[in-house]
Amino acid sequence: MKKFYFILMLSAVFVVQAASYTLINDEDLSARAETISYLLPPLIAVVCGVFLLRFFNIRHGRGLSLSLIVLGLAGWLLGEVLWVLFGILDINQTPSIADLFYIIAYPLMAAGFFMEIKRGKVEWTAKKALFLLPLLAIGFYFTIVYGIIGAYDAEASIFENMINMFYGVGDTILGLLVAIILMIIWEYRGGKIFFPWLYIFMGVILTLIPDILYAVYFDAYMEGLSPYRYLDLVWGLSYLFFAYGFFALGQLVKDIQNRISVPPPAEE
């Protein structure tokens, strides 16, 4: 698929999701449309990830790190599916087994990104430290204060509080990932692989922000109040960035393969 059509498709998915959350007045129809449009972006991200993996050997190299990242996203997709299913069946959405799939994704993705750092021979220099450490400090402050401490609810059970705090820990890992991906992007500047990693970076950032807001405004989100319910749209957008990052990486590998499969012109 050409880049233009792929971007068009992703944009259409986002517009449909935004429309289902804002334009449909009928409550039943809106709920159904929201359910379908909510699951589409993570599904597309995982499908794009799996398609990308066909170029690689998932047992080593970039194939292994990408497969861990895709596996993490698959965990989020499973979590989203269960979340929606429990909502339809009127079963408690959180704490539930859906949380397990959401939470397990964080260490998987962290492992994938750490491997990527190793392969890229990314080095920690004073210049990078000067740039990244203040960012890391701010990121950790927000995730710990709002994601972990802010998530504590005196009226909730210990189990519920533990689950909410696990999300905070997950977000702290995600904050660390942001710094790691920034290092990867920095390392690859001037190269074509810079852009796919930039899109993946956008995906992580757009997951982290609504994650923190979800922890802070948990009750308002669960009641479906506006504007808190629109957090779903930001999560949706984050999945679409992951999808585009995988697509762009796949296109890059395809481009390299095509270059070598075209025989060089015969010498005269």
């Binding site: 170029f55 690689f56 050997n57 080593h60 190299g61 970039r62 194939g63 392969r119 890229g120 021979k121 390392e187 690859y188 500047r189 001037g190 190269g191 074509k192 692989i193 810079f194 890059l252 590998v253 390299i256 393969q257 070598i260 499969s261």
Partner: protein, 65 residues
């Protein structure tokens, strides 16, 4: 450096970055090139994809092995 070893390492580097199928294609291509041409090809390819500074780092490691 022995050409076969150089090809093996260059192909390994390509496999790590761009996958096994891409590496196989380059393995065939490299067998018809001289050692210098292999190094130039891999540096040029990496420079375009991972950027000039990272490419230098990767090819220096390749030669040092």
């Amino acid at each position: 450096m022995d050409k076969d070893i150089l090809i093996k390492r260059a192909v390994g580097l390509i496999a790590a970055h761009f996958g096994d199928s891409t590496a196989k294609m380059y393995e065939k291509h490299f067998s018809s090139l001289s050692e210098d041409a292999i190094l130039a090809t891999i540096e040029e390819l990496l420079s375009e994809i991972v950027g000039p500074s990272n490419a230098k780092k990767q090819t220096a490691i390749l030669c040092a092995l």
